[in-house]
Amino acid sequence: MNDPYQVLGVSESATDEEIKRAYRELARKYHPDNYHDNPLADLAQEKMKEINAAYEEITKMRSGGSRSGSAGGYGGYQGGYQQYRQQSGSSVLQQVRIAINSGDISRAESLLANYSDHNAEWNFLRGAVCYRRGWMDEAKRYYQTACQMDPGNMEYRQALAFMENGTRQAYRPGGGQFGTDLCGGNICLPLCCAYSLCNGGYFCCPIW
């Protein structure tokens, strides 16, 4: 295993409080909620395991090996990256869920294409496939249809709510809200670049 202090990005002389803060920041970054349905969720899960193990090891070392567990940290987030665990109403749609979970989006897509009953679950899973492909607008529209067809289904409603507002809670270094209409920046200053593209960049012309 890598040096646990290095994994948490702190020095060996860091205080317990600093270590806990570093751990919490990393845990927030790689938290399953931040990788909801993300095609790279498996990599985030690996990171999380590494961070949890590092935090646990440091905690153990500092308490003389007598303590175990995550010692007041985030309690070891390891599960929760796998989505679509609910039981399906049909065996084909169940296979679609398995395919999505394993990252085989092409298989999920072809199973859905050959399934003629475009019920609420079909629309929901079509939305999930679109999301994995990066087709965010279509994903939302399929989730909307699923919710209209089965308004009481929590799984569909959560998916739609995530598409509408979910990124507001996304990780941003140092906190702060995540979103185009939530940033308070003034574009004039950021665009006052210190060097020029020379009207299309014929020559690089730094002018600071």
Partner: protein, 321 residues
């Protein structure tokens, strides 16, 4: 992309036909330390030198921030040895720049290929008179393109394929923003094709895909009014029913949500790889810069800010050279 979209457009940088889709990804300098901003400038100058050395002097005119980000993303996270040389912009004191490495060479070749096909699209999309600019610039870039395409045949082929696909979607006036943006996003994610390490390739493919998607959508949003006046194809206008180029609150809310999902996909990918010395500039760009540019585009202030910046730069350049 504006040219690729088949949308007649006044390029914000009239002397550079290839920059139409580019120019939205920028370093938010107010969020960067002097050291980080200097580092960004060194790779910017390094890419300029690499383009000149590898593809000939004409290739230098395609230089922009977007291609600099490509060089950063493809780099191994280390800064090579800085060199100092005089150039036409700084003929007396010279400038420090990063020496070419394999990543910078890849970025240079891919930039030339992207810029060339953008220009060719400009030729195809304009009548003889309005296409003159594109024809002359693409002719000037042709030798550079030949060298780059010979070095990266796979990227050249995929770029041509994706741009053909995009032209077809635009010809049929595709109303799905996702389908239209996908063609450009796949094109850009192809830049990670030569990355050997599988995890790094997955990370870069996701990051570049959503960067391409975001750029395409922001460019379409930026052209809303112009396209409403000219009647040219605009996927965002079609999707949200914006006939007069003015956002409704509901459409704006939905559109920013889709942009934010792409930025989120970029940031989550970014956090899964160690970009080394480039981490601060990438972090500031992805978590701040894209939001600021997107908001300015939606508020209609982006072009004015860019024009003001260009004027200021021209003035400064005149004063310093």
């Amino acid at each position: 992309m504006t040219a690729a979209c088949g949308r007649e457009a006044d390029c914000p940088s009239p002397s550079c036909g290839c920059s139409e889709v580019f120019g939205y990804v920028r370093p938010p300098l107010q969020d960067l330390s002097q050291e980080e901003a200097e580092r960004f400038r060194r790779i910017y100058c390094g890419l300029c030198h690499t383009l000149g050395q590898r593809c000939g002097p004409a290739a230098r005119f395609i230089l922009n921030y977007d291609f600099t980000y490509l060089a950063i993303l493809l780099s191994a996270g280390r800064e090579g040895e800085p060199h100092r040389a005089r150039c036409i912009v700084s003929p007396i004191h010279g400038r420090t720049y990063l020496e070419a490495d394999p990543a910078m060479e890849t970025a240079a070749d891919e930039s030339v290929i992207l810029a060339y096909w953008q220009l060719r699209d400009g030729v195809a999309d304009h009548d003889w008179f309005h296409g003159l600019k594109y024809r002359s610039l693409s002719a000037a870039l042709e030798p550079a393109y030949r060298r780059a395409a010979a070095a990266r045949p796979g990227f050249d082929e995929s770029t041509r394929h994706q741009l053909r696909l995009l032209a077809e979607l635009e010809a049929e006036r595709c109303g799905s923003v996702d389908r239209a943006a996908d063609a450009f996003a796949v094109l850009l994610s192809g830049a990670a094709r030569e990355v050997d390490e599988p995890v790094r390739r997955r990370v870069l493919e996701q990051l570049l895909y959503h960067l391409g998607r975001w750029v395409y959508l922001v460019d379409a949003a930026d052209d809303l009014k112009k396209d409403a006046a000219s009647g040219n194809y605009n996927p965002v206008a079609l999707r949200f029913g914006l006939t007069d180029g003015v956002w409704t609150p509901e459409a704006r809310r939905e559109f920013t949500a889709t942009l934010d999902h792409s930025i989120h996909m970029m940031t989550t990918a970014f956090e899964l790889w160690d970009f080394g010395v480039w981490t601060p500039v990438l972090e500031a760009t992805l978590y701040n810069g894209l939001f600021q540019v997107g908001r300015a585009v939606l508020d209609g202030t982006f072009q004015a800010a860019r024009r003001g910046e260009d004027r200021k730069k021209s003035k400064n350049v005149e004063g310093t050279t």
